[in-house]
């Protein structure tokens, strides 16, 4: 059981890639191993007719057909991977329609949970734009409702006159990550599917506190945040 819908999606795609990787890699490396053993030089075996000889430019060797076949096969495999990638990417980078802002409601028709994440050196601030925590800024701990869409707006800002630097907000268990770039707001969305706590880490080197720049995601029943099963 994975921790979020995005994790599910990730594993589906990752497992496809891994499956194909093991097959292709296995065939290629296996072929190599076979050829090395089969054609290792043994005394008494004659030199091949086109062996390199000083004083001669070697003759051409190889068939365009072989090249064409291997390129075509590869292209088919790669095409599958591109297709899967574009589909999965579309889902994880597109905020669901019911959460997209409207004239009447900045949090979408379903009033999805919106939280601003501000990365700083070296921690995470969470400003709740809605839910009962609206207006509050808490550090280190992110509380989100179980089972409904959560939209995170990722930014980077240092305080005390220091220029903010790149960070990257990532939650391993949700298999989702986005850079925090000074001056930019990046958006991330997902839906938690378990009630366990999860670790937030920084995935873009940001200085001396990078290793310890962690946080926690607490997943609670929607009611505790003043949300329902459809929205906040």
């Amino acid at each position: 059981m994975t921790a979020s819908n995005t994790a599910d999606l990730f594993y589906q795609l990752f497992n496809t890639f891994t499956f194909l990787a093991v097959i292709v890699g296995g065939i290629v490396l296996g072929l190599m191993a076979y050829l090395i053993v089969r054609f290792r030089g043994r005394d008494g075996f004659p030199e091949p007719a086109d062996a390199p000889t000083l004083g001669h430019i070697p003759p051409a060797r190889g068939h365009l057909k072989t090249v064409a076949i291997s390129v075509t096969l590869s292209a088919i495999v790669l095409g599958v991977l591109i297709f899967g990638t574009l589909n999965a990417t579309e889902v994880i980078t597109t905020v669901p329609s019911e959460c997209r802002p409207l004239q009447s409601s900045p949090y979408g028709s379903a009033h999805c949970a919106y939280i601003q994440v501000t990365a700083f050196r070296f921690g995470w601030n969470f400003t709740y734009l809605n839910t009962i925590l609206e207006g509050q800024t808490l550090t280190g701990n992110l509380t989100i409702p179980f089972g409904t869409n959560v939209i995170l707006q990722i930014r980077s800002m240092d305080t005390g006159g220091r220029q903010g630097v790149f960070h990257a907000f990532g939650v391993d268990d949700f298999k989702i990550k986005k850079d925090a770039i000074p001056g930019l707001t990046n958006t991330l969305w997902f839906r938690a599917t378990d009630l366990d706590p999860h670790t937030i880490r920084c995935f873009e080197f940001c200085g001396i506190g990078h290793s310890g720049m962690t946080g926690k995601v607490n997943v609670v029943q929607p009611g505790s945040l003043g949300c329902s099963s459809t929205g906040c």
């Binding site: 995005t6 999606l9 795609l13 990752f14 890639f17 990787a21 490396l29 190599m32 050829l35 054609f39 290792r40 030089g41 091949p48 086109d50 390199p52 004083g55 001669h56 430019i57 070697p58 003759p59 060797r61 190889g62 068939h63 072989t66 090249v67 390129v71 991977l81 591109i82 990638t85 574009l86 994880i92 980078t93 597109t94 905020v95 930014r155 220091r162 220029q163 630097v165 790149f166 990257a168 990532g170 391993d172 298999k175 990550k177 850079d179 770039i181 000074p182 001056g183 930019l184 707001t185 990046n186 958006t187 880490r201 920084c202 080197f205 940001c206 200085g207 990078h210 290793s211 310890g212």
Partner: protein
């Protein structure tokens, strides 16, 4: 080997490609040791994360320096060392096109490396990761790198200069100095790979030069601009996932884009020579021609071209437009196709072969196997969706080490073993070499394969808690790291001892076909008695001037013995080193105790270089399609100017990036007065006219005309710089100072026109050198080529201004 005064002087002054090749190879192996010690320290730390053995700040320096040193001071230079030694031999040439420039390339590389090591001792090495991301590198508070980073950027500038000169040298050599009858289609894989590599290098290194330069001076100002703009802006409440036009993302992503536009082709620069070496070793040890050599060659070109349109895969989660990420994911996944062709061809070569299992081919085959794993995992990272998890984790670290170390280093080590007998006349010890291979291969996989499973562990962390569960895999990796690292000692011991005690090697111990195997081991100074000739049926005539002996007189038509020693390259490099150190080591800059001697030594070196009577034989016939009739030096100037086009292109691209992302910009003619710009435009155009006149006078043999035109060009150039200086001063000191009120226009303007101005100044220095010689009547007949070269440079600088003028003054 005796180290006498003579020997030392010989190594300091030699310009022979074989000596320079040895210098590069040995030096790169030295940096390999340094980079390796840094790596093992990090591995030791990660196997003992708490309480740990390295302070975090030290760890951060180590991880940064490990990357910079390995990529820029080990991998490419090792390839360049082998290329230096063997490309001329494989082409049937006696040396590279410009031997002194070649030596200069080496010394710049060495001094740059010295600068890098020096950073540890002057304020700490750079500690931002090898990618040197802005804004981290731009900040000036105590949490950021101090003088160390500045010195590093100076060192990078030296390295870029080294590689730029080297690329020009190799390109001219490959196009102008092939043996008669040797077509590109006859090339073995190493020269071909190096040709593709140096072409990419000459394009791309200009960019890292800009990047280094930008780091030194541009970004602090950008930073100021960003802060000002940012203060005026309210945080956008609307969602930004669909668009990259979000305001305020100006400087940070600019660095990201510029760096990776260089960075991705750079890793191909690192990889292609290794592919070339594999392509050399396989035919010799399988006793068959390389399968599909033609297709491999075309695939390398395809991959090189594609390498310029994949860089966005380093920026998938930065918030750039979805369309650009989609395009980049397709191109990145697609670039594996040419590599498929290359890999399959190499494997097919083994079919119906008779493989002689010696160290070189073990390393080559091992490299191919590891390349397969590295390449497949690269496809994972090419997927935007998967990158949302894998970015910034150890999965990435594993992937690129499989390519760079697994394919790159292993292949180059195979090359070292392969060519050691030729370079030294001795065989290495085969059993120890095989042991070296086995331990390296096993150690490597124990080190890096576990990292694929650490896809939740962030990169560049100095420590982690035990409850992450990452410890066992890290410990395994550390064990592998020490096995791999200690195994390399076998390489040094083996080659070191074999230098003295190895079995003497004949000219062709491996029964190879490429031209270097026709010479003695090591080859004589001029390489060949007579240059080989390739007949149309593919047979090669190595002539009667045989392997061991050297024909007594060289058929260069002048009877003059070619020069080999020159003191000026090392002196010029030293001057450049002191100068850049003077600019970067003190805060605030400059440090005059280094700067002034640097200028003095540099100018002394340049003058000596120019006045030295250095003989490079050019009389022998060569294959030179498609540049028949173009003198080597002129081709060199063209190639150099081509890389300058990229340099200015990226600089102007950066300006365009800033401009299109800036919310406001001063109105036309309000800040930069058109009349100033127009006047300077006319002045430069007139100076191009006088430069054309100078060439015409040289051709007609009119000394007074030549000198007058040169003086006129000098005067106009000086007038241009004077006007510019006045304009600069006016802008800076006006009641409404440009810096305070228009920081982004200020920065882009001063940097761009400043770089251009430095080019104009360099042109003036050139004229300063030309005029006295013109007075002595030096530029008639053949000498007019020098005026022609100067003209090419000067016109180029003027054309750049023709672009600058409208971009800054008219829009």
């Amino acid at each position: 080997m005796q180290i006498s005064g003579q020997a030392a002087k010989y190594w300091l002054y030699s310009t022979n490609h074989k000596d320079v090749g040895v210098l590069y190879t040995v030096t790169s192996l030295l940096f390999f040791l340094i980079g390796g010690v840094l790596a093992l320290s990090m591995r030791a730390q990660l196997a003992n994360p708490t309480p740990g053995i390295l302070p975090t700040s030290t760890y951060n320096e180590f991880v940064t320096m490990h990357g910079l040193l390995m990529i820029l001071w080990v991998l490419s230079p090792l390839a360049i060392g082998l290329a230096n030694y063997f490309i001329p031999l494989q082409l049937g040439a006696r040396d590279l096109a410009f031997p002194r420039l070649n030596a200069l390339s080496y010394w710049l590389y060495l001094f740059g490396g010295a600068g890098m090591v020096l950073t540890f001792f002057v304020g700490g090495g750079p500690n931002t990761g090898w990618t040197l991301y802005n804004p981290q590198t731009a900040c000036s508070d105590p949490l950021c790198a101090g003088a160390g980073l500045n010195v590093a950027t100076g060192a990078l500038v030296l390295l870029v200069a080294s590689i730029t000169l080297g690329s020009v040298n190799f390109i001219v050599t490959m196009f102008k100095m092939r043996a008669p009858g040797l077509k590109f289609s006859h090339f073995s894989m190493f020269p071909w790979a190096m040709l593709v590599t140096v072409v990419i290098m000459s394009i791309v290194l200009a960019i890292i030069g800009i990047a280094a330069f930008m780091m030194l001076y541009a970004f602090p100002s950008f930073l100021a601009g960003l802060v000002l703009l940012f203060a005026d802006r309210t945080f956008p409440a609307r969602l930004s996932y669909l668009s990259s036009s979000q305001s305020g993302n100006i400087p940070s992503l600019l660095w990201d884009d510029v760096f990776w536009f260089f960075g991705h082709p750079e890793v191909y620069i690192v990889l292609f020579p290794a592919i070339g070496v594999i392509g050399e070793i396989l035919p010799t040890f399988t006793r068959r021609p390389l399968y599909g050599a033609k297709y491999v060659a075309w695939s390398m070109i395809a991959a090189a071209v594609l390498s310029f349109i994949v860089w966005g895969h380093h920026m998938f989660i930065t918030g750039v437009s979805p369309l650009s990420t989609q395009l980049f994911t397709i191109t990145t996944i697609g670039v594996s196709l040419p590599f498929d062709v290359i890999t399959i061809s190499m494997i097919e070569t083994l079919y119906k072969a008779k493989i002689r299992m010696k160290a070189p081919v073990l390393f080559a085959i091992g490299a191919v196997a590891l390349f397969v794993i590295g390449g497949i995992t690269g496809v994972f990272l090419a997927s935007i969706a998967l990158d949302h998890q894998l970015r910034g984790t150890y999965f990435v670290v594993a992937h690129f080490h499989y390519i760079m170390v697994g394919a790159g280093i292993l292949a180059l080590m195979g090359g070292l073993y392969y060519w050691f007998p030729k370079m030294t006349g001795r065989m290495y010890n085969e059993r120890i070499a095989k042991l070296h291979f086995a331990l390296s291969f096993i150690g490597f996989n124990v080190l890096y394969f576990p990292m694929f499973f650490l896809l939740e562990m962030p990169r560049r962390i100095a420590s982690y808690t035990i409850n992450t569960g990452w410890l066992p895999l890290n410990q395994m990796a550390t064990i592998g790291g020490f096995i791999f690292g200690l195994a390399q000692l076998l390489l040094f011991a083996n080659l070191g001892r074999s230098l003295r005690n190895g079995t003497p090697a004949g000219p062709n111990p491996w029964e190879g076909w490429t031209f270097e195997w026709s010479t003695s081991s090591p080859p004589p100074p001029e390489n060949f008695g007579t240059i080989p000739r390739v007949a149309s049926d593919g047979t090669v005539d190595f002539g009667s001037g045989h392997r061991g002996s050297l024909a007594t007189g060289l058929p260069n038509g002048h009877g003059a013995h070619p020069s080999h020693l020159s003191r000026w390259p090392i002196i010029m490099a030293l001057g450049a080193f002191l100068f850049l150190l003077g600019l970067t080591v003190s805060s605030p800059p400059p440090n005059y105790f280094l700067l002034v001697p640097g200028v003095v030594v540099g100018v002394w070196g340049l003058t000596g270089y120019g006045r030295e009577a250095f003989v490079v034989p050019e009389g022998e016939k060569t294959a030179d399609w498609p540049f028949a009739g173009i003198p080597r030096a002129r081709l060199g100037v063209w190639v150099f100017l081509a890389s300058e086009i990229i340099f200015f292109g990226v600089l102007l691209g950066a300006y365009a990036f800033v401009r299109t992302n800036a919310a406001t910009w001063p109105a036309i003619n309000s800040l930069f007065e058109i009349s100033h710009g127009a006047t300077n435009t006319f002045i430069l155009l007139a100076s191009s006219l006088t430069a054309v006149l100078a060439l015409a006078c040289a051709r007609q043999g009119s000394k007074s005309g030549l000198v007058a035109s040169l003086v006129g060009t000098f005067a106009l150039g000086t007038l241009f710089l004077y006007n510019k200086a006045m304009e600069w001063q006016q802008l800076a000191s006006a009641p409404v100072s440009i810096f305070a009120n228009f920081p982004l226009p200020a920065t882009t303007y001063y940097i761009t026109t400043g770089v251009h101005g430095v080019h104009v100044f360099a042109g003036l220095l050139m004229i300063g050198y030309l005029i006295p010689n013109a007075l002595k009547g030096k530029y008639f007949g053949h000498g007019e080529e020098t005026i022609h070269h100067f003209g090419l440079y000067w016109h180029f600088v003027d054309i750049v201004w023709i672009f600058l003028f409208p971009l800054f003054y008219l829009i």
